[in-house]
Symmetry: C2
Subunit: 96 residues, 2 copies
């Protein structure tokens, strides 16, 4: 399934910067970065459960947020991109 | 229809900062900010056409990007939020 993950991490101090790097790193293990704080992750339910558990252990829930958007099987028709881009197909090969 | 708009604007100089402010301002006219660079916009097709036209005139397509995610009528079931939040219902009243 395709899950879009967006996040806001408060980076006013070194702790926040550390959380931001950790969140990005985990997302990179499961998906493709499409914008700075936006990842598209093609995962099965077990993988997604692992990923969200990891992310939710990293963030400070009083300062940071995560949003998950379940785009469904028809996700390719739901997405449109304008402007500067990393072109990729998450089911295929990354082409920058 | 519910359209999720995410954006990356390169803010290395004053021009970029200006574009960022303009993009956010336009999005605020049509939807709710749910994260720093993420807006959920409940719009009809005419409104969305206006909004995207405005946004695409603001950004520098070589530096910045916009992504539109069409979440469909079942959008409420597609979204999940974790952590710090502004709680709102885009069809209702903003409650911080």
């Amino acid at each position: 399934m395709m899950v879009l993950i967006t996040y806001d991490v408060r980076t006013e101090n070194a702790e926040g910067m550390k959380r931001l790097r950790k969140v990005a790193k985990q997302c990179q293990n499961y998906g493709q970065r499409v914008q700075n704080s936006v990842f598209e992750c093609l995962v099965d339910p077990v993988q997604f459960a692992q990923l969200r558990k990891q992310l939710e252990q990293i963030i400070d829930p009083n300062e940071d947020s995560l949003r998950y958007y379940y785009l469904g099987s028809n996700w390719k028709n739901r997405v449109e991109h304008v402007g500067a881009k990393v072109t990729y197909d998450p089911e295929g090969v990354l082409t920058v």
